[in-house]
Amino acid sequence: MIRLENMLPRAFLLGIMKMVDMSGPLETIRWMQSIGEELAVIEGPGFEGARMDTDIVYLPISPFGNEVVEFSRIYEKPEQFSEIIGTMSNLKTKSAAPWEFPAMSHVLDVLQHSYNQKRAELAGTRFYNLGSKSPLGDVRQYNTEAIERAGMSKENVAEILDKAFFVYFIEHPEKE
């Protein structure tokens, strides 16, 4: 049900679809990343979520889970979202630093990851998304290069994903 006061999250998701139609998936990705980074600067350095130990962060709940599920009940799997996920996958494949990319289980991970990475950068660290779980079902995605860089195994990450939706690793440059 839409009421004007709760329209904004759904409007943003619909806006992503419209943006892909108007400017293509790549431009839409850049647009979402710029939003994430700008919000991160306002929020400042930090890492949101629970901590396993000092370097592993996880989100026990999916930040946009409710909105994503509600949206999917109306639009199911929009083609535009698949285009974004496909484009991100191509960018990762061609990148010299594939560990920097999100383990994509939803298009909003682009926004979320750019925000998280910028906040980590402001804290003088790097932030890798090792794995994620879709709020639409137990579909898991992993970033194997990020997992390797974190010195972990896919099984380790899978174990954390049993109780979480996102798993991250904080890399401290001075510890390298």
Binding site: V41, I42, E43, P45, G46, F47, E48, A50, T54, P60
Partner: protein, 409 residues
């Protein structure tokens, strides 16, 4: 009260404060390897206050440096930080943190001056952080609703939005007292802080009128309003009053906005004692059992018991002051205080409720193990999170006040 045991608890509380300050200045909420090995501005601020009262001025200054340098760009102090001062929050806004940091900074500032306040107070420290103070005050005022002249928050001292989302009394008192502290420090530095003072007066007046119920003769917990900018707030979807008793309804006096002798304070404290003093195991509960979020089992809290002891000390009621402090001393295990105490029966009831309701988080598994493994379990008591550092700071504050009043050296 057993004076030897009380003195030993005081001494160990000071040791615990010192031991649980990270080298970068943050006071852990609980030691590394336990439940809360992070720096929570609320707990951290109270540890700074405890350090000031214990004369640990270097530790207090270092604690202030840590938190002031960790301020977020808009002026907010987060829910929690890691030891490096990076935001590690997982909950929404808790604006009392802003008020508390300013309030305890004011305590430090005055303590450095002592009776030679003007000449000796650590003005250089305050001056070096003046920009941070300004941003902290501005952030508080950014969250002030112009219709009711109160500060809006999502979480407050219990981190429980169901009862704290809106205009909540502890957060408002902490923020108001924080602005007054900033005003005092600003005046000492020769700054024009007249607008802040005017705003603090307006908020204080709103606390006394909008958050006080003459018919109940008590301060009330919260005007529940979802959105800070709802206008008019009467149409907000949450619009309601939380008038249940809560230990923090003592906050106006705790934060020195009203006298402990004022009838509003006296009658509020009476209601708190009547409804929250635990008839089975003593001590003060923080809110009614039916609020239903009682991790580890419903039961009394050491730091709220200490906070209310302050009232009885201030009003010369030695018997009640000793009742309260005595209970805290009795609950100490090896001169160490837990977050709160429950009974085996209540612990099992909580576990049943949370298991059946499927709201028992994985993170509670360790909590449950620790409670059952603690030696007090065999005495029939559930000790939840021991040690928690905050109650040691509160004990230092209230016991020192008690000692100064009733047993002057």
């Amino acid at each position: 009260m057993n004076p030897i045991e009380a003195e030993r608890l005081y001494e160990n509380s000071v040791r615990i404060l010192k031991k649980n300050q990270h080298e970068k200045g943050g006071f852990y909420a609980s030691p590394p390897g336990t439940r809360y090995p992070f720096i929570y501005p609320r707990d951290h601020s109270m540890c700074i206050y405890g350090a000031v009262e214990a004369g640990l001025m270097d530790e207090a200054r270092k604690g202030l440096e840590f938190i002031l340098n960790s301020q977020k760009p808009l002026g907010e102090f987060s829910q929690r930080y890691d030891v490096d001062g990076n935001d590690a929050s997982y909950k929404e806004l808790q604006i009392d943190g802003n008020g508390l940091v300013l309030f305890v900074m004011g305590k430090y500032f005055k303590a450095t001056g002592g009776s030679f306040y003007e000449e000796m107070a650590d003005k250089a420290f305050v001056a070096s952080h003046w920009e941070t103070i300004e941003k902290a005050v501005q952030f508080i005022l950014m969250n002030k609703n112009e219709e009711v002249n109160l500060i809006h928050t999502i979480n407050s001292i219990h981190e429980y939005p169901a009862y704290e989302h809106g205009f909540e009394i502890y957060a408002n008192c902490a923020c108001c007292a924080g602005i007054y502290a900033a005003v005092d420090m600003g005046k000492a530095l020769g700054k024009d802080v007249s607008v802040w003072e005017q705003q603090a007066d307006i908020i204080r007046q709103a606390i006394f009128t909008r958050l006080y119920s003459p018919r109940r003769r008590s301060f009330v917990k919260c005007i529940r309003v979802k959105d800070k900018n709802s206008k008019p707030i009467g149409y907000d979807s949450f619009a309601s009053i939380v008038h249940d008793v809560d230990a923090v309804e003592y906050a106006p006096a705790y934060f020195e906005l009203i006298s402990d002798y004022d009838i509003k304070t006296v009658s509020t404290v009476r209601r708190i004692h009547q409804q929250l003093w635990d008839s089975e195991i003593g001590g003060l509960n923080r809110y009614p059992e039916y609020w239903g979020r009682n991790n580890g089992g419903y039961g009394p809290w050491c730091h709220f018991t200490c906070q209310l002891a302050n009232h009885h000390i201030e009003t010369d009621n030695r018997e009640m002051a000793e009742n309260y402090l005595d209970w805290v001393v009795d609950m100490a295990h090896e001169y160490t205080l837990p977050e709160h105490v429950s009974t085996i029966e209540r612990f099992e009831l909580w576990l049943e409720d949370y298991t059946n309701g499927k709201i028992l988080r994985d993170s509670k598994v360790k909590l449950i193990e620790d409670i059952r493994a603690h030696p007090k379990w065999k005495d029939g008591l559930a000790y939840v999170t021991i040690p928690l550092i905050w109650p040691h700071a509160e004990f230092i504050i209230s016991y020192k006040k008690y000692r100064d009043k009733f047993n002057p050296a």
